[in-house]
Amino acid sequence: MTRSRATHAAAPLLAAALLVPLLAACTPNDPAAAGSDGSAAGSAKLTVDSSADACTLSAAEAPSGNIVFTVTNTGDDVTEFYLLAEDGLRIVSEVENIGPGISRDLVLTAKPGEYVTACKPGMIGDGIRSDFTVTDSGKDIEPTGAVADQIALASTNYVAYVKDQTEQLLEGTQEFVAAYEAGDDEAAKALYAPVRVHWERIEPVAESFGDLDPKMDLREADLEEGQEWTGWHLLEKDLWQPAPEANGGETYVALTPEQRTQYADQLLADTQELFDRTHEASFADGIDAPAIGNGAKGLLDEVATGKVTGEEEIWSHTDLWDFQANVDGAKVAYDGLRDVVSAKDEELATTLDERFATLQGLLDEQRQGDGFVLYTDLTPEQVKALSQAVDSLSEPLSQLTAAVVL
């Protein structure tokens, strides 16, 4: 999960939103309804010049509907631009962290009414304010309801989900490590993929802890010269020991019992560390709507680059377990935000529902027993179909974050 978003406006700022981000016009599948008059999707386009001592808008009013403020910082300090409700207190939408000389768009959908604009050069004080009017264009603007409450609930639920998965991961890893250290390879092999599912479901969270991920999940191909290899995939290779021709021509040397204990204990300790960190209060603070939305997209990116190519589990070939787990995690993240998405962009929600279902249908075809067929049992046509379904889902999923931030 992207920790850099931890500073993103928290729930109070999202309260009573009147505005929704313009999504329809930037969804690539939508030709954006360019009008015959040459106007762009009916968007009102305004410029904001934020200098050291002035905040100049190209117009003091705009018709209700889609509005784009292109904010240019012509001052020397970092600036921000806010659209506030009539009371001058409630933040309707904002762009932050605009460096000197930089332009950034604030894109939103506005209802008719009186507003206040504010540039905040130096990011201090009340900013340079002006009144702003949104006139009634007659366009139907969806009320967004209690979006902030929905987002807060989604965050709470997602944090609970992450904690639950780390608990199951820790429990499963204990069993796996016990079997592996005891030399019970069959039991360890049987546990490998089902336990890793709990890791793969929350992979972006684990990756956000930059020190843990490489210790726990590095593949042999990811190692740099001289780097010590630890974690799941080292044990994977030792359980599914390759013949020389699959090992760069070299005879695989099995880990000694001492090495087994050393690396398995290390994995267990790292898993405990992951558990502890996700159970700290500060962890929950970083889980906001963008973190969840970007996490969902990140999980599908994992599928597209590692799982659908069979690169993740090159010794055990249990890639489809990981594939399913990544999709599970993305679906949970999306489901938590679905009401928010649906209120703002119903078409996006419908598309995502359909494409999640299509992808799940293809995965279900590969189920075998409690798990899946091995990656190496898939035909090229099946891999291609899965890959296409991942692409079909990933493209609209990349719009999720923008749909759930203000």
Binding site: P21, L22, L23, A25, C26, T27, P28, N29, D30, P31, A32, A33, A34, G35, S36, G38, S39, A40, A41, S43, K45, L46, T47, S58, V68, T70, T72, V95, S103, R104, D105, V107, P290, G293, T351, R355, Q388, D391, S392, L393, S394, E395, P396, S398, Q399, T401, A402, V405
Partner: protein
């Protein structure tokens, strides 16, 4: 043709300082704009000058960039050849008789949806994006550097700052678009497939690779900057995700044909001039007879369109390069230098297949390429060729994977392509050095009418007649 001013027109409406992403009055949603001047115009400047009324309409095919006519129209501006924009709209799709650009990105897609409405929505979105990109605008409304900060940009960005570069985007429908593998009609297009849109037969010596053949939809993107051509296909592929999936694509460079008399005949990777006898856009009678499908030809929705045949023809470069000049010229039937037929004259001289030398042996071998490909050997059939060289690196044996990506537009593939390719495959001396590895045929619909509105739920789109 008038010359465009260097600066954006001061009278043009004031659009915010949004780079390229902003649609202005020159937006292709108002495609009545006449062709613009071929000048080194940044994509950004295009926006500003788009409002300028140019009086240069009326060129057949709507082309101008890079042509001699365009250059002479702006003698003082030091125009860079090939930067300008071709009109997207017109009676025929651009990219056929348009002067051949330097670079190609060709791609085909398989439609993954069963839903006719989704296909139409894709064609509408493609048409709008293509219209925009050919005019030097970003694919989407916001462009690559603006729009919602938490959303991916609606244009991928690698063409930012580049001129339109003569980009044309040409769309076609393959046989598999109409008919599923089980023979049933797709998308409610029962009875709409032209009889002539049949999969090409197996030709002698074909070594086709499935991953380089066919496709429900094909798009030919040609531009004078390879980055602009690749940008076009990449953005169209992005728009198609969920509706259609790329089947294969091919990059090409160094056009191997010319379609106007103003363009010098280029050379293919055998080192010979190629396409000397090609149909040029100036031959309006020949294009009507050999290129454009006419009403009554069999599928009225395709009237004004054409059939596109693509063949990826690998050349065995290394063995060719070991062939003596005598053999090379015998195979081609022309000189390697000037391109003159071996019967004499210069490049433009008609070959004389009766001319004989010592011992009565024909100067042009009966199995030479020029003889077998000549209209007189093919019942008068001609075609408009638009091929490109390709080099896809080297193979595992250190040999160039290079050759000709053959593209030809014909009115009737059954008479203009199939018999000739059969004859060439069987008899042509050149066949020894060729391997056909990719193949496809597509019906290319007519162009979008000038003045049509694009985009939205009602906008005009390429292939609209097919769905009428």
């Amino acid at each position: 043709m008038t010359t465009a001013p260097d600066q954006p027109d001061a009278d043009a409406p004031k659009w915010p300082d949004a780079p390229r992403g902003t649609t202005g009055p020159g937006d292709p949603t108002r495609p009545t704009e006449p062709p613009r001047e071929a000048r080194r115009i940044s994509r950004r400047a295009v926006l500003g000058m788009a409002g300028v009324g140019l009086a240069g309409a009326g060129l057949a095919g709507g082309f101008l960039a890079g042509s001699a006519a365009a250059r002479t129209a702006a003698p003082s501006a030091g125009p860079a050849e090939g930067d300008g924009a071709f009109a997207f709209t017109g009676e025929h799709q651009a990219g056929i008789t348009t002067p051949v650009q330097d670079s190609l990105h060709f791609a085909t897609w398989d439609v993954t949806t069963q839903d006719r409405d989704e296909v139409v929505a894709l064609l509408r979105a493609w048409t709008l994006a293509a219209a925009r990109m050919t005019q030097g605008l970003p694919a989407g409304e916001f462009g690559p550097v603006s729009g919602p900060y938490d959303a991916p940009p609606d244009d991928t960005g690698e063409a930012e700052g580049l001129p339109a570069s003569g980009l044309t985007i040409t769309f076609g429908f393959g046989p598999s678009f109409f008919t599923a593998a089980d023979g049933s009609a797709r998308f409610g297009l029962d009875g709409r497939k032209p009889d002539l849109l049949a999969d090409l037969p197996h030709f002698p010596g074909d070594m086709l690779e499935d991953a380089r053949c066919g496709g429900d939809l094909a798009v030919q993107a040609c531009a004078n900057d390879p980055q602009v051509a690749v940008h076009a296909i990449r953005n169209l592929a992005r728009i198609a995700f969920g509706t259609a999936s790329v089947r294969w694509s091919q990059l090409g460079y160094g056009r191997t044909s010319s379609t106007t008399t103003a363009q010098p005949t280029p050379r293919n990777l055998f080192g010979f001039k190629d396409g000397t006898a090609n149909i040029t856009s100036e031959e309006s009678a020949a294009t009507d007879e050999h290129v454009w499908v006419a009403p009554g030809d069999g599928a009225d929705w395709l009237a004004g369109g054409s059939y596109l045949v693509a063949r990826r023809i690998r050349m065995t470069i290394e063995t060719w390069d070991r062939a003596p000049l005598r053999e090379q010229e015998t195979i081609v039937g022309r000189t390697k230098g000037s391109g003159a037929p071996l019967s004499g004259g210069d490049e433009r001289t008609e070959p004389d297949f009766e001319a004989a030398g010592r011992g009565g042996v024909p100067l042009i071998d009966a199995a030479s390429h020029v003889r077998l490909a000549h209209p007189t050997s093919n019942g008068g059939a001609r075609m408009l060729r638009r091929g490109y060289n390709y080099t896809d690196g080297s193979d595992g044996l250190g040999r160039l994977d290079a050759g000709l990506f053959f593209l030809a537009y014909v009115r009737d593939p059954a008479t203009q392509y199939v018999p000739m390719q059969n004859a060439l495959a069987k008899h042509d001396l050149m066949s020894e050095y060729l391997r056909h590895t990719g193949s496809g045929i597509w019906a290319v619909p007519r162009g979008i009418a000038e003045g049509a509105t694009l985009g939205g739920d009602e906008g005009a789109f390429v292939g609209q007649e097919l769905f009428a």
